[in-house]
């Protein structure tokens, strides 16, 4: 049985090269609604918390979906998350399309991907060579 890596081990292995080679995957359970102006509405199902039982659930409202609205640029980045493209190639394409330097595109794309991960829209699957060897 493989040991689950500790948090500080994960941080130690989180090198820029590993992050750039990682591939983002979209949440298959989410609903995506395209709008004519280029924006996108994403609805991500969220599980009911265990503590939210009657009578607490009668008082506290609970939504089964988290809705996130993405503007034109956000939709463009989300569309690039096809499960095949690495973060590095996404950044390169974003930089090339918007005449940005790699660093400018890296800061904006990686910051945006982090927000999508926090909202449950994406997961980032990384290439961790050290973990593979152990």
């Amino acid at each position: 049985m493989t040991r689950r890596p500790k948090r500080n081990e994960l941080q130690k292995n989180a090198r820029p090269a590993n992050f750039l080679q990682a591939v983002p995957y979209t949440n298959q359970a989410m609903e995506v609604t395209r709008r004519p102006d280029g924006s996108t509405l994403v609805s991500v199902p969220i599980p009911r918390p265990k503590y939210l039982v009657p009578p607490l659930s009668w008082i506290l409202p609970f939504s089964h979906q988290r809705r996130v609205e993405l503007d034109r640029l956000g939709s463009y980045v989300l569309d690039m998350c096809d499960g095949r493209r690495s973060i590095e190639s996404m950044i390169e394409r974003f930089a090339g399309d918007h005449k940005l330097s790699f660093r400018e595109a890296q800061l904006s794309v990686s910051g945006f991907l982090r927000q999508l991960v926090q909202r449950g829209i994406l997961v980032i699957v990384g290439m961790n060579k050290d973990a593979e060897e152990t």
Partner: protein, 299 residues
């Protein structure tokens, strides 16, 4: 092997480096000179420069790299660099590191350069970087980094440097408070955020309670710029004396770079006319480096 080199000029120091080594750290006003460049994965180049009183012993300076922070001995060998550079090569399991130093006696300045070689040292590139280091000591100083390129009278110094994603702003001033101050801003992706005409955006950039005196077009050598001359109050006492902040704003879109340039000159004055500081040149239409085409420049 060939590389595409880019030039960075910061606080009087010029250095050439591969185009995909981008500036990651730059020293602020009042600090010793320091710039760090990194590629996609590593910090690659670190440059530090400072004024000195006496001629330094460069070999003694480089001896500090012989021992680590905890006192452990490092694997160091002396490098035969082209004069006047002196240098050592540090070998680590992850790669090699070049530490080099040189003195500029007439400017009383010492420059230290560190280059990281994760996949093997490249002598030619190392030599090209080291030999490109120059000190800018003319009446006009070149400032070139983060996509901006300016020629500025030497009496002006960079007081504020704001660098956000796609938005770089530099503010210059002299030690004389009567002289005008100016700022230059470069904004990326205007097709995304510029919803209306540039003229309207420029008017929105003015501080609250500004009084617009004139708003018209100004032909520049390469583009047509929108210009606004406005005034705003400083203090009630200054207003009684007829002194206000006079402000000239210029903005233009560079289609080659796909950036908006915004130049703002400010001065406390009784007048209603304000000219650009003599000798100030803002260069745009510089070729945009596409990261998708980087194949060379990596040693």
């Amino acid at each position: 092997m060939t590389w595409t080199l880019d030039r960075t000029c910061w606080r009087g120091l010029r250095i050439d480096h591969p185009v995909d080594w981008e500036i990651a750290l730059a020293s602020d006003f009042g600090q010793p000179g320091h710039c760090t460049f990194s590629d996609r994965h590593f910090h690659r180049l670190d440059v530090q420069w400072r004024n000195i009183q006496r001629e330094p012993n460069l070999d003694l300076m480089l001896e500090k790299f012989r021992h680590g922070k905890t006192g452990e001995k490092r694997d160091i060998s002396r490098l035969g660099l082209r004069a006047p550079w002196r240098g050592v090569l540090r070998t680590t399991p992850e790669g090699n590191v070049t530490h080099a130093a040189r003195n500029f006696p007439s400017e009383r300045l010492v420059v230290e350069v560190t280059i990281v070689w994760p996949s093997g040292r490249n002598d030619d590139l190392e030599d090209a970087i080291l030999q490109s280091v120059m000190i800018d000591s003319g009446e006009e100083r070149l400032w070139q980094a983060m996509g901006l390129s300016l020629s500025v009278p030497a009496r002006y110094d960079l007081r504020e440097n704001t660098s956000k994603v796609g938005r770089v702003q530099w503010e210059f001033a002299t030690s004389d408070k009567k002289e005008p101050t100016f700022s230059v801003e470069r904004l990326a992706m205007p097709g995304y955020w510029l919803k209306g005409p540039l003229r309207d955006w420029l008017a929105d950039e003015l501080p609250a309670r500004s009084r617009v005196l004139r708003q018209d077009m100004m032909p520049l050598p390469t583009h047509r710029a929108e210009s606004v001359v406005s005034t705003s109050r400083i203090t009630p006492l200054a207003s009684l004396r007829g002194i206000h902040t006079l402000r000239l704003d210029l903005a233009w879109v560079c289609p080659i770079e796909d950036r908006v340039y915004h130049l703002c000159v400010k001065q406390a004055s009784r007048l209603e006319e304000l000219a650009l500081p003599e000798g100030l040149v803002v260069r745009c239409c510089r070729p945009v480096h596409n990261p998708q085409t980087v194949s060379q420049g990596r040693p």
